[in-house]
Amino acid sequence: MDDMVSTAGLNQWIRAFAELVAENKDSLTDLDAAIGDGDHGANMHRGLQAAVAALDDTKPATASTLLNKVGMTVVSTVGGASGPLFGTMFLRMGAALGDTAEVSLTQLATALRAGLGGVVARGKAEPGDKTMYDALAPAVDALESAASTGVDKADALKLALAAAENGRDATTPMLARKGRASYLGERSVGHQDPGATTVALLMAAAIRAPL
């Protein structure tokens, strides 16, 4: 059925994500240099290159093994804040999906919700803290409501991307309260959060793949 996502599709999603991060590596790093320590692009790039290599090696056959592998690899290669956060997100998504070769849009939304829960469990971010949460949470909301109202897959993903991008843009005026940027206090205002920017790329990758 059209609204199902195959394991191959998930595989493509991760590859497209890796591509987009590679293409935007320097601008991610510049965003991080402004309010952090300037390694976010390099961190995510290192992790996603490793994840793609791991997928090449192990060719996972189910949604859960694939996302588990990606999560494990990200955790094991990224370090810093984004390693545990994005890694846990993928791991929780994998755990939520189980051993199936394809998943529905609703299941995908549920998995992303679980991933978001993992990010919060790990990083204790709250809305408005100027983190990846502020792009991921609206994207999950949008995907869930699209799936529950029967919007088709392509449109649902577009809605999720738009929500992520809005969330990303909304981080600019925020005052950081988590991560390195929080050391800056007032001086963090006026800069877009790098992690939120990466989340928008993740959603864009779902469309580029296509999922």
Binding site: D37, S76, G79, G80, A81, P84, G179
Partner: protein, 333 residues
């Protein structure tokens, strides 16, 4: 960028080769980038590991050895190590009495160590307790931030907790010693120049010929404010007074006074600083029981200094004085 390196990507791996070659008492797990005691695990002794981004040498690898750390995990420059490293280190040093994780308070470090502790509990059954250092008074400590950064106190804590572990104390006792050290220690730093991360190839921040960054972090994070260049005497005031006020340290307190160099500052200047720090402390009736002057927690090639004060009792002093045998701190053996 002028550095004694080959490839910016390989700095950490190659420095680990150098450390392994230079120190027969230490082993290196190159896959996991772990420096560990050649005699690990020590049966019945609480193991202590630490780790963090590289670029702060001798922290942490230079503090591995008898009476201090059992292992140190080296991340990429200024990037927290990954959980696999801390998990492997935990297994390497677990002598059955549990393992203490010493974690500097940075979001990345805290989360990666946390995952490692979870994995250790699940995989190896090793009992793990983590203690987080957060002694940098330059950062406002509030529930609205990631909290204070772990800096100079980490060095003193690793020594003191290491001595407690060497005495055969239990994991909970060693952890409590560590927590007390963190609770009683405060630090603040100042940069005269930026550091240059090898992979970046250019200075992390720009600082004018007449400017200093007061309250700088050990990764070149911005501080409290940018201030005009000043004398050692004025700089000592800027660092010591906020540190004293924060705990607060008061008349009659005994302290370990630690004047640290950030990597590009020569010892001659650190002694000039120490003279000023000591003078201010004496003026406040704070008694310097022990001192440490040198570059022990650095920020690559940054010129600058930090001051750490740790309030101590006789018990803590005797742990400080206990034998230690590491590349960077050694006495009594």
């Amino acid at each position: 960028m002028k550095k004694l390196i080959n490839d910016p990507q390989n700095v950490v791996a190659e420095a680990l080769l150098g450390i392994e070659a230079a120190h027969p008492d230490l082993n290196v797990d190159h896959q996991h980038k772990i420096i560990y005691r050649a005699d690990a695990p020590r049966r019945g002794k609480v193991g202590i590991i630490s780790g963090g981004g590289s670029g702060h040498e001798p922290l942490h690898g230079g503090f591995v050895g008898l009476g201090m750390l059992d292992a140190a995990c080296a991340g990429e420059v200024f990037t927290s190590p990954v959980p696999d490293q801390m998990l492997a280190a935990t297994k390497l040093v677990d002598g059955g009495a549990g393992v203490l994780h010493v974690v500097k308070n940075y979001t990345g470090d805290v989360m990666n160590f946390e995952m490692a502790a979870e994995l250790a509990a699940a995989e190896s059954g090793a009992q793990v307790v983590s203690v987080v250092t957060d002694d940098d008074v330059a950062v406002q400590d509030s529930t609205w931030t990631a909290g204070r950064r772990g800096v100079g106190v980490t060095v003193l804590l690793e020594k003191i907790a290491g001595a407690a572990a060497e005495q055969g104390r239990s994991l909970e006792q060693v952890a409590e010693v560590a927590r007390q050290v963190n609770a009683n220690g405060r630090s603040m730093g100042l940069a005269l120049t930026s550091c240059t991360v090898p992979a970046a190839g250019k200075p992390t921040f720009e600082l004018g010929e007449d400017e200093m960054e007061l309250g700088v972090g050990i990764h070149g994070e911005p501080g409290r404010q940018r201030v005009p260049m000043a004398t050692a005497r004025e700089i000592a005031e800027m660092l010591v007074e906020p540190v004293l006020a924060d705990l607060p340290f008061t008349n009659g307190d005994k302290v370990i006074a630690f004047v640290n160099g950030l990597g590009g500052t020569p010892l001659l200047e650190l002694y000039v600083m120490y003279n000023e720090v000591n003078r201010i402390l004496t003026g406040h009736g704070v008694q310097v029981a022990r001192s440490l002057v040198g570059s022990y927690i650095t920020s690559l090639d940054m010129a600058g200094t930090s001051v750490t004060l740790l309030k101590v009792d006789d018990e803590t002093l005797s742990l400080w004085d206990a034998p230690v045998k590491t590349p960077a701190l050694r006495w009594g053996i």
